[in-house]
């Protein structure tokens, strides 16, 4: 039995302890904003916040997160999340949209750690998130816009 917090609520899981957090969130908790893209931490579509840090949930066995605090796209909040979502909408970043939950989660985590990221900071934080539609050009601009909007 593993006990953890999901978007502020205490949850337990008593299935196979090897089950990746991704499939616990999707199959058992029925929160589907977090996506499967590769299963091997190569694409970032499954990014969640684990104790405040971005984490690829597809390679995180549920047994390793006892007592942890998990936040998904459905639960992410605060000024950085608001700024990122507003900036995403302002530039119409998504195309197919499938990777965007992961992009948003990585971008929010970046702004929480680095309020005014440089292009190099953005490369460092976002390189693990693949977008096959290649919306990268707008992702970069949206992160800068979000950072600027938080200054005022």
């Amino acid at each position: 039995m593993v006990t953890f917090t999901l978007n502020g609520q205490e949850r337990t899981f008593d299935g196979d302890p090897d089950t990746p957090l991704l499939w616990v969130i999707r199959d058992f908790e029925k929160l589907t904003g977090t996506k499967y893209g590769c299963g091997v931490a190569q694409c970032g579509a499954c990014t969640v916040h684990l104790d405040g840090m971005p984490r690829r949930s597809c390679v995180t066995p549920i047994a390793t997160i006892e007592g942890s605090d998990v936040v998904t796209i459905e639960g992410v909040s605060g000024k950085e999340a608001d700024a990122i979502k507003t900036a995403w909408a302002g530039l119409d970043v998504p195309q197919c949209g499938y990777c965007q939950s992961g992009q948003v989660m990585s971008a929010v985590a970046l702004l929480q750690m680095v309020p005014k990221p440089t292009d190099a900071d953005i490369d460092g934080a976002m390189t693990g998130n693949i977008c096959r539609c290649a919306t990268y050009h707008r992702i970069r601009a949206a992160i800068h816009n979000a950072a600027n909007s938080m200054e005022g």
Binding site: V40, Q95, C96, G97, Y98, C99, V104, I122, D123
Partner: protein
């Protein structure tokens, strides 16, 4: 969201009162009265041919017959309707239409389907007519209610007004009354000069849900008691199951069953992880007697043996043989080999099957050819087509992958479902490994180019031989193998293009921009080499040979102006250019490239000019150019699906089938040529020029022409 919610939403949507505009196929062009029912649905609820619905709550919902997987048809089609309806953009909504090969036919294909960058071109008149019809009926209803002449009523931004009597209303209040009006026989469309929404940067309708995680894709459909199924596929194309042992798989907690199916061995489980773990625990012996056992290298050698043999003639102008015999010629030759490419959309293929109480089945999937999916699934499930409903979902990309004649993916998934007793809903999904190794690739191609330059420095002859699989499965010439080459835009007096079709057990498929993925590269790099040989500027040289192609020349000039072509590139960088027409749209690109830290090209900047006729939504057009550039660039830099010695597929996931990442994405500037030509597509045309433009810059930077893709292989070789 559960499947029950989805059904409720759909039924509620179609059941709600209001004005529904259908587009009947014949005899009258437009009919407001529901003319039938949605197959299998509640006859009282669902108008079969709905294209636009105006709700009593003032919302205007467009039913898109084109799937939304990122290229923007929801927004584009809604723009067309809103323009003629004089709606306010904030009241517009879009959903997928039901499946019906007649009512919702792509007018270019003759069946329901999305592809060939055709959504806007195909819907430009149809959806505007639907909007104009709705507007006329709303006006008629208001005129009747207010007892004023219809001609005195104006509509603007979703408000119906009669100035003289100072009356005003939204659409919703008249939606029901409008439904009882007679539709105009031939709705009057606006003169393009009067457009107020078309040509403006309207925000996309699907952004919000795709930003906060609420958009539902097929993978997200999770009805209660759902069974998850994955299939163990062979690692060789054409291999079949010889024997298997499922004892260990069945021991995995959550695994429910294991069955042999046509595609391999299916594992059924209560959750996804159990299904995957169960599949890993299978032990399977494959029969390779009919499998492709040649390596990519061996295939390439076999392809190149065909260069000297007589092929299928695509173009033959002038007299090539004589032209090459002329005295004083310089000749240039090149062979270029293109690898197999996977599409690798973010959402791997998936489908959900749910049996209704009457035995009929709902299928939820990212259906690019929904009517074909329905036909194929019905056959496998042993049901009448009317008992199978294909419910198109948002899809996490496609790039061609989901547009398959004969719906082989749905064949696999339906067979997996058919092997159960159908008491539980079933989700069949592919993993990324299934996707990369699943075939239906952009085929491997080999090109041989020969060019002749006379003493005056003119290109007098051009020969191109193209070897590869026919995507259309043809025995004779397949236009998709030679498009972009057989209609070479440059004026060259002696031109011969021919092709050889190769038969392989590796299934081929179109990949974003189809033949132009390789012909665009071959043509644009080779012509650039010829210009270099003559000492001509690549832009000026092209323009001189594009006398009969003003739209090519237009985008090329614009891109050159944007890039300040002629000014020196920064130290350590070179610029390259390419211009390609595909799917009726013209795109010119100039790139700026340096040698990156690992010795591979680093692309800093792309200037892109596009002429796609009337620009419906510049925001979407620019997004498609940016995305097409990234998609095409990633492939030419990094990607190949390779068969190892013995025929086993070498790549399996994003670590060895690389995707471009944010740190590799260039800055992109896009300009749209102002045009009154009919609108053409933008989903594909951004892709073809970027590869050759990068290769041209690379050759000028390093002296090394790119003869084999991906570029990273020749750099690291």
């Amino acid at each position: 969201m559960t499947i029950q919610d989805i059904n409720t939403t759909r039924r509620g949507f179609l059941a709600g009162s209001g004005l529904v505009i259908g587009v009947a196929i014949a005899p009258k062009m437009l009919s407001a009265a529901p003319t039938g029912v949605h197959a299998g649905g509640d006859p009282a609820l669902a108008p079969m041919n709905a294209f636009v619905k105006i709700g009593t709550d003032d919302t205007v919902t467009v039913l898109s017959k084109h799937i939304e997987f990122g290229q923007g048809p929801f927004t584009g089609l809604a723009t067309l309707v809103a323009e003629e309806l004089d709606a306010d953009w904030s009241q517009m909504r879009a959903v997928h239409s039901p499946t019906d090969n007649k009512v919702y036919a792509n007018l270019m294909f003759g069946l329901q389907g999305t592809g060939g960058s055709s959504a806007i071109a195909n819907s430009y008149e149809q959806m505007r007519k639907a909007g104009a019809t709705a507007r006329a009926m709303l006006v008629a209803a208001a005129a009747d209610d207010w007892k004023v002449p219809a001609s005195e009523i104006t509509v603007q931004k979703g408000r119906i007004k009669h100035a003289a009597s100072n009356r005003e209303s939204g659409f919703g209040a008249f939606a029901e009354k409008a439904a009882r009006q007679t539709p105009p026989a031939e709705p009057k469309l606006k003169d393009p000069k009067d457009f107020v929404l078309i040509g403006t940067e309207l925000p996309k309708l699907d952004t919000h849900g795709k930003t906060n995680g609420t958009s539902i894709f097929t993978l997200d459909i999770t009805p209660d008691n759902l069974l998850i199924a994955v299939v163990a596929h062979p690692e060789h194309f054409g291999a079949t199951v010889k024997s298997f042992n499922d004892a260990e798989a069945r021991k995995v907690q959550g695994v429910v069953d294991v069955k042999q199916v046509p595609a391999g061995i299916a594992v059924y489980a209560d959750n996804t992880f159990a299904a995957l773990k169960g599949r890993d625990a299978l032990s399977i012996e494959w029969d390779l007697s009919k499998a492709e056992t040649r390596s990519s290298e061996e295939l390439s050698a076999d392809y190149r043996k065909l260069f000297g043999e007589k092929g299928l003639e695509a173009t033959n102008k002038g007299n090539l043989d004589d032209a090459f015999k002329a005295p004083g010629l310089q000749t240039v030759e090149a062979e270029i080999v293109f690898p197999f490419l996977a599409h690798a959309p973010m959402e791997p293929l998936d489908a959900v099957f749910i049996k209704a109480d009457d035995g009929s089945v709902d299928i939820y999937n990212g259906a690019q050819f929904p009517g074909m999916d329905q036909e194929v699934a019905a056959k496998i499930l042993g049901l009448d087509e009317a008992k199978v409903r294909v419910n198109t979902q948002l899809a996490g990309g496609s790039f061609g992958r989901k547009a398959q004649f004969g719906s082989p993916y749905i064949q696999e998934a339906a067979a997996v479902y058919a092997a159960t007793d159908r008491t539980r809903p079933l989700k069949h999904m592919w993993t990324r490994e299934d996707d990369i190794r699943g075939g239906y690739y952009r085929p491997m191609y080999a090109h041989r180019m020969r060019g002749a330059i006379n003493a005056q420095g003119q290109i007098t002859a051009w020969e191109q031989v193209i070897v590869g699989q026919s995507i259309m499965g043809k025995a004779d010439l397949d236009e998709t193998s030679v498009e972009g080459a057989s209609n070479l835009p440059y004026t060259i007096p002696n031109l011969k293009v021919s092709a050889h079709n190769v038969q392989l057990s590796i299934p081929p498929l179109w990949w974003r921009s189809v033949g132009h993925t390789h012909t665009g590269f071959a043509v644009e790099t080779f012509v650039d080499e010829l210009f270099q040989k003559i000492g001509k500027d690549p832009v000026e040289g092209r323009l001189a040979l594009l006398g009969e192609k003003p739209r090519h020349a237009g985008v090329l000039r614009k891109a050159a102006e944007m890039a300040n072509w002629g000014s020196p590139a920064p130290e350590g960088r070179a610029r390259g250019v390419a211009v390609v027409e595909s799917f009726g749209s013209f795109v010119g690109q100039i790139v700026e490239v340096s040698i990156g830290p690992e010795g591979a090209p680093r692309v800093h900047k792309v200037w892109c000019a596009v002429d796609c006729g009337v620009a419906i939504n510049p925001n979407v057009i620019k997004a498609q150019m940016e995305g097409g550039i990234g998609y095409g660039l990633g492939a030419v830099l990094f990607d190949a699906v390779t068969l190892a010695k013995g025929g086993k597929i070498m790549q399996s996931n994003f670590h060895d089938y690389r995707s471009i990442r944010i740190n590799e994405m260039p800055d992109v500037a896009v300009e749209i040529i102002k045009s009154s030509e009919k609108p053409s597509g933008v989903g594909e045309p951004g892709v073809p020029p970027v590869g050759p433009a990068v290769a041209n810059a690379w050759r000028r930077l390093t002296g090394a022409p790119v003869r084999q893709l991906p570029i990273v292989n020749i750099v690291s070789a």
